[in-house]
Symmetry: C2
Subunit: 156 residues, 2 copies
Amino acid sequence: MKRTSLNDSICPVARTLDLIGDWWTLLIVRDALGGIKRFSEFQRSLGVAKNILSSRLKTLVAEGVLDIRPASDGSAYQEYVLTPKGKDLYPILIALGQWGHQYMFNENETCSYAVDRLTRQPLAAMKLRAQDGRELAADDIQVIPGHLAKDELKIN
Amino acid sequence: MKRTSLNDSICPVARTLDLIGDWWTLLIVRDALGGIKRFSEFQRSLGVAKNILSSRLKTLVAEGVLDIRPASDGSAYQEYVLTPKGKDLYPILIALGQWGHQYMFNENETCSYAVDRLTRQPLAAMKLRAQDGRELAADDIQVIPGHLAKDELKIN
Protein backbone atom coordinates (compact mmCIF):
# COMPACT_ATOMS: atom_id res chain seq x y z
CA MET A 1 0.00 0.00 0.00
CA LYS A 2 1.38 3.37 -0.93
CA ARG A 3 1.40 5.80 1.93
CA THR A 4 0.09 9.30 1.57
CA SER A 5 3.08 11.57 2.06
CA LEU A 6 2.78 14.18 4.78
CA ASN A 7 6.19 15.59 4.03
CA ASP A 8 4.70 18.87 2.86
CA SER A 9 2.26 19.18 5.74
CA ILE A 10 2.39 22.43 7.70
CA CYS A 11 2.05 20.36 10.88
CA PRO A 12 5.46 19.50 12.33
CA VAL A 13 4.06 16.37 13.97
CA ALA A 14 2.86 15.04 10.63
CA ARG A 15 6.11 15.87 8.91
CA THR A 16 8.12 14.12 11.62
CA LEU A 17 5.91 11.05 11.50
CA ASP A 18 6.43 10.96 7.76
CA LEU A 19 10.12 10.37 8.48
CA ILE A 20 10.13 8.42 11.75
CA GLY A 21 6.54 7.23 12.03
CA ASP A 22 7.54 3.78 10.94
CA TRP A 23 7.36 1.23 13.68
CA TRP A 24 10.95 0.06 13.27
CA THR A 25 12.57 3.42 12.76
CA LEU A 26 12.23 4.67 16.32
CA LEU A 27 13.36 1.30 17.66
CA ILE A 28 16.52 1.60 15.55
CA VAL A 29 17.09 5.06 17.03
CA ARG A 30 16.41 3.66 20.51
CA ASP A 31 19.04 0.96 19.99
CA ALA A 32 21.52 3.47 18.55
CA LEU A 33 21.06 5.65 21.63
CA GLY A 34 21.74 2.53 23.68
CA GLY A 35 25.09 2.08 21.94
CA ILE A 36 24.29 -0.36 19.13
CA LYS A 37 26.30 0.45 16.00
CA ARG A 38 26.40 -2.51 13.61
CA PHE A 39 23.89 -3.99 11.23
CA SER A 40 24.10 -7.45 12.80
CA GLU A 41 23.61 -6.01 16.29
CA PHE A 42 20.50 -4.09 15.22
CA GLN A 43 19.19 -7.21 13.58
CA ARG A 44 19.75 -9.33 16.67
CA SER A 45 18.21 -6.72 18.95
CA LEU A 46 15.15 -6.04 16.82
CA GLY A 47 14.53 -9.41 15.17
CA VAL A 48 13.64 -7.54 12.02
CA ALA A 49 14.03 -8.81 8.44
CA LYS A 50 17.31 -7.76 6.82
CA ASN A 51 15.66 -5.99 3.90
CA ILE A 52 13.49 -3.89 6.20
CA LEU A 53 16.41 -3.02 8.48
CA SER A 54 18.55 -2.15 5.48
CA SER A 55 15.91 0.13 4.01
CA ARG A 56 15.24 1.91 7.33
CA LEU A 57 18.94 2.46 8.00
CA LYS A 58 19.35 3.85 4.49
CA THR A 59 16.52 6.34 5.06
CA LEU A 60 17.93 7.40 8.42
CA VAL A 61 21.34 8.02 6.86
CA ALA A 62 19.79 9.90 3.92
CA GLU A 63 17.82 12.08 6.35
CA GLY A 64 20.88 12.87 8.46
CA VAL A 65 19.71 11.02 11.57
CA LEU A 66 22.53 8.47 11.37
CA ASP A 67 26.05 8.73 9.96
CA ILE A 68 28.04 5.82 8.56
CA ARG A 69 31.67 5.48 9.61
CA PRO A 70 34.34 2.76 9.46
CA ALA A 71 34.32 0.35 12.40
CA SER A 72 36.11 1.67 15.49
CA ASP A 73 38.03 -1.60 15.86
CA GLY A 74 39.62 -1.33 12.41
CA SER A 75 37.59 -4.23 10.99
CA ALA A 76 35.80 -4.07 7.65
CA TYR A 77 32.39 -3.43 9.24
CA GLN A 78 30.52 -0.18 8.97
CA GLU A 79 29.11 1.50 12.02
CA TYR A 80 25.99 3.62 12.28
CA VAL A 81 26.24 6.52 14.69
CA LEU A 82 23.67 9.12 15.62
CA THR A 83 24.16 12.68 14.41
CA PRO A 84 23.13 15.57 16.70
CA LYS A 85 19.81 15.55 14.82
CA GLY A 86 19.47 11.87 15.75
CA LYS A 87 20.38 12.40 19.40
CA ASP A 88 17.74 15.11 19.57
CA LEU A 89 15.11 12.41 19.08
CA TYR A 90 15.76 11.32 22.67
CA PRO A 91 12.97 13.45 24.21
CA ILE A 92 10.47 11.72 21.89
CA LEU A 93 11.67 8.30 23.00
CA ILE A 94 11.63 9.23 26.68
CA ALA A 95 8.10 10.63 26.33
CA LEU A 96 7.01 7.38 24.63
CA GLY A 97 8.72 5.31 27.32
CA GLN A 98 7.25 7.23 30.25
CA TRP A 99 3.76 6.96 28.83
CA GLY A 100 4.30 3.25 28.21
CA HIS A 101 5.56 2.69 31.72
CA GLN A 102 2.49 4.38 33.14
CA TYR A 103 -0.15 2.82 30.95
CA MET A 104 1.15 -0.36 29.32
CA PHE A 105 2.68 -2.18 32.29
CA ASN A 106 1.16 -3.82 35.33
CA GLU A 107 2.66 -3.13 38.73
CA ASN A 108 4.58 -6.37 38.89
CA GLU A 109 5.86 -6.43 35.33
CA THR A 110 9.51 -6.01 34.51
CA CYS A 111 10.13 -2.72 32.72
CA SER A 112 13.39 -1.22 31.53
CA TYR A 113 14.31 2.29 32.69
CA ALA A 114 16.20 5.27 31.36
CA VAL A 115 18.32 6.63 34.21
CA ASP A 116 20.61 9.57 34.82
CA ARG A 117 24.14 8.09 34.77
CA LEU A 118 25.17 10.29 37.68
CA THR A 119 22.46 9.45 40.22
CA ARG A 120 21.25 6.14 38.72
CA GLN A 121 17.69 7.38 39.16
CA PRO A 122 14.95 7.45 36.50
CA LEU A 123 14.60 10.72 34.59
CA ALA A 124 12.11 13.34 35.65
CA ALA A 125 8.71 13.06 33.97
CA MET A 126 8.51 15.00 30.69
CA LYS A 127 6.09 17.85 31.36
CA LEU A 128 4.34 20.31 29.09
CA ARG A 129 5.44 23.77 30.16
CA ALA A 130 4.91 27.38 29.14
CA GLN A 131 7.94 29.56 28.45
CA ASP A 132 7.76 30.84 32.04
CA GLY A 133 7.91 27.30 33.43
CA ARG A 134 4.23 26.86 34.34
CA GLU A 135 3.10 23.27 33.90
CA LEU A 136 0.37 23.00 31.25
CA ALA A 137 -2.48 20.51 30.93
CA ALA A 138 -3.84 19.40 27.55
CA ASP A 139 -6.68 21.91 27.83
CA ASP A 140 -4.26 24.81 28.34
CA ILE A 141 -2.79 24.29 24.89
CA GLN A 142 -4.04 25.42 21.52
CA VAL A 143 -2.65 24.62 18.11
CA ILE A 144 -2.44 27.59 15.75
CA PRO A 145 -2.37 26.83 12.01
CA GLY A 146 0.78 28.03 10.29
CA HIS A 147 -0.63 31.00 8.37
CA LEU A 148 -2.16 32.43 11.55
CA ALA A 149 0.93 31.67 13.62
CA LYS A 150 2.98 33.78 11.23
CA ASP A 151 0.90 36.86 12.03
CA GLU A 152 0.20 36.22 15.68
CA LEU A 153 3.61 35.10 16.83
CA LYS A 154 5.67 37.20 14.42
CA ILE A 155 7.56 34.05 13.55
CA ASN A 156 7.46 31.90 10.48
CA MET B 1 2.43 -8.28 6.21
CA LYS B 2 1.96 -9.44 9.76
CA ARG B 3 3.74 -7.32 12.28
CA THR B 4 5.85 -8.78 15.01
CA SER B 5 4.10 -7.87 18.25
CA LEU B 6 6.14 -6.02 20.82
CA ASN B 7 3.30 -5.97 23.30
CA ASP B 8 5.22 -8.21 25.68
CA SER B 9 8.50 -6.32 25.35
CA ILE B 10 10.09 -5.17 28.60
CA CYS B 11 10.89 -1.88 26.85
CA PRO B 12 8.16 0.70 27.43
CA VAL B 13 9.02 2.44 24.15
CA ALA B 14 8.47 -0.74 22.17
CA ARG B 15 5.24 -1.52 23.96
CA THR B 16 3.91 1.99 23.32
CA LEU B 17 4.87 1.84 19.66
CA ASP B 18 3.03 -1.44 19.42
CA LEU B 19 -0.13 0.49 20.28
CA ILE B 20 0.45 3.91 18.77
CA GLY B 21 3.35 3.33 16.39
CA ASP B 22 1.00 3.37 13.45
CA TRP B 23 1.36 6.38 11.27
CA TRP B 24 -2.30 7.36 11.46
CA THR B 25 -2.88 6.69 15.11
CA LEU B 26 -0.90 9.63 16.48
CA LEU B 27 -2.46 11.92 13.88
CA ILE B 28 -5.91 10.87 15.11
CA VAL B 29 -4.80 11.68 18.67
CA ARG B 30 -3.39 15.01 17.44
CA ASP B 31 -6.72 15.88 15.83
CA ALA B 32 -8.65 14.78 18.93
CA LEU B 33 -6.46 17.04 21.08
CA GLY B 34 -7.29 19.81 18.61
CA GLY B 35 -11.00 19.30 19.25
CA ILE B 36 -12.06 16.97 16.44
CA LYS B 37 -14.71 14.52 17.64
CA ARG B 38 -16.58 12.97 14.71
CA PHE B 39 -15.69 10.29 12.21
CA SER B 40 -16.38 12.55 9.23
CA GLU B 41 -14.23 15.32 10.71
CA PHE B 42 -11.31 12.98 11.25
CA GLN B 43 -11.71 11.72 7.73
CA ARG B 44 -11.73 15.21 6.26
CA SER B 45 -8.76 16.30 8.30
CA LEU B 46 -6.62 13.24 7.63
CA GLY B 47 -7.71 12.23 4.14
CA VAL B 48 -7.48 8.63 5.28
CA ALA B 49 -9.51 5.70 3.91
CA LYS B 50 -12.65 4.98 5.91
CA ASN B 51 -11.70 1.39 6.69
CA ILE B 52 -8.32 2.43 8.07
CA LEU B 53 -9.80 5.24 10.14
CA SER B 54 -12.49 2.94 11.45
CA SER B 55 -10.00 0.28 12.48
CA ARG B 56 -7.65 2.78 14.18
CA LEU B 57 -10.52 4.42 16.10
CA LYS B 58 -11.71 0.99 17.22
CA THR B 59 -8.25 0.12 18.55
CA LEU B 60 -7.95 3.46 20.35
CA VAL B 61 -11.33 2.91 22.02
CA ALA B 62 -10.44 -0.69 22.94
CA GLU B 63 -7.16 0.51 24.48
CA GLY B 64 -8.84 3.23 26.50
CA VAL B 65 -7.26 6.15 24.65
CA LEU B 66 -10.61 7.36 23.27
CA ASP B 67 -14.13 7.08 24.68
CA ILE B 68 -17.29 7.00 22.58
CA ARG B 69 -20.18 9.16 23.66
CA PRO B 70 -23.42 10.43 22.12
CA ALA B 71 -23.10 13.66 20.16
CA SER B 72 -23.15 16.78 22.32
CA ASP B 73 -25.72 18.43 20.00
CA GLY B 74 -28.27 15.66 20.51
CA SER B 75 -27.92 14.34 16.96
CA ALA B 76 -27.49 10.66 16.14
CA TYR B 77 -23.72 10.95 15.64
CA GLN B 78 -21.17 9.42 17.95
CA GLU B 79 -18.31 11.46 19.28
CA TYR B 80 -14.82 10.30 20.12
CA VAL B 81 -13.27 12.02 23.11
CA LEU B 82 -9.88 11.53 24.67
CA THR B 83 -9.64 9.82 28.05
CA PRO B 84 -7.02 11.00 30.59
CA LYS B 85 -4.79 8.24 29.19
CA GLY B 86 -5.27 9.76 25.74
CA LYS B 87 -4.59 13.32 26.86
CA ASP B 88 -1.37 12.11 28.45
CA LEU B 89 -0.07 11.42 24.95
CA TYR B 90 0.32 15.19 24.50
CA PRO B 91 4.00 15.31 25.60
CA ILE B 92 4.82 12.76 22.90
CA LEU B 93 3.11 14.89 20.24
CA ILE B 94 4.77 18.08 21.43
CA ALA B 95 8.17 16.37 21.43
CA LEU B 96 7.51 15.15 17.87
CA GLY B 97 6.34 18.60 16.80
CA GLN B 98 9.28 20.45 18.32
CA TRP B 99 11.78 18.13 16.68
CA GLY B 100 9.92 18.50 13.38
CA HIS B 101 9.91 22.26 13.64
CA GLN B 102 13.64 22.29 14.23
CA TYR B 103 14.70 19.78 11.61
CA MET B 104 11.99 19.33 8.99
CA PHE B 105 11.16 22.95 8.13
CA ASN B 106 13.10 25.63 6.33
CA GLU B 107 13.23 29.10 7.82
CA ASN B 108 10.59 30.53 5.52
CA GLU B 109 8.16 27.64 5.60
CA THR B 110 4.78 27.91 7.25
CA CYS B 111 4.60 25.75 10.37
CA SER B 112 1.76 25.33 12.83
CA TYR B 113 2.45 25.95 16.53
CA ALA B 114 1.22 24.67 19.85
CA VAL B 115 0.79 27.67 22.13
CA ASP B 116 -0.09 28.32 25.75
CA ARG B 117 -3.68 29.66 25.65
CA LEU B 118 -2.85 32.20 28.34
CA THR B 119 0.19 33.91 26.82
CA ARG B 120 -0.30 32.86 23.16
CA GLN B 121 3.38 31.92 23.06
CA PRO B 122 4.84 28.58 21.89
CA LEU B 123 5.46 26.02 24.62
CA ALA B 124 8.86 25.68 26.25
CA ALA B 125 11.14 23.13 24.61
CA MET B 126 10.74 19.62 26.03
CA LYS B 127 13.99 18.88 27.86
CA LEU B 128 15.46 15.73 29.31
CA ARG B 129 15.95 16.32 33.01
CA ALA B 130 17.16 14.46 36.07
CA GLN B 131 14.91 14.27 39.12
CA ASP B 132 16.76 17.28 40.59
CA GLY B 133 16.04 19.36 37.49
CA ARG B 134 19.48 19.18 35.83
CA GLU B 135 19.20 19.18 32.05
CA LEU B 136 20.56 15.95 30.57
CA ALA B 137 22.19 15.30 27.20
CA ALA B 138 21.82 11.98 25.37
CA ASP B 139 25.19 10.82 26.68
CA ASP B 140 24.15 11.44 30.30
CA ILE B 141 21.43 8.81 30.03
CA GLN B 142 21.67 5.05 30.32
CA VAL B 143 18.95 2.48 29.75
CA ILE B 144 18.83 -0.26 32.37
CA PRO B 145 17.19 -3.55 31.36
CA GLY B 146 14.17 -4.45 33.43
CA HIS B 147 15.63 -7.29 35.50
CA LEU B 148 18.56 -5.10 36.57
CA ALA B 149 16.34 -2.08 37.18
CA LYS B 150 14.34 -4.13 39.64
CA ASP B 151 17.39 -4.64 41.84
CA GLU B 152 19.12 -1.33 41.32
CA LEU B 153 16.18 1.02 41.60
CA LYS B 154 14.11 -1.02 44.06
CA ILE B 155 11.18 -0.58 41.74
CA ASN B 156 9.49 -2.97 39.39
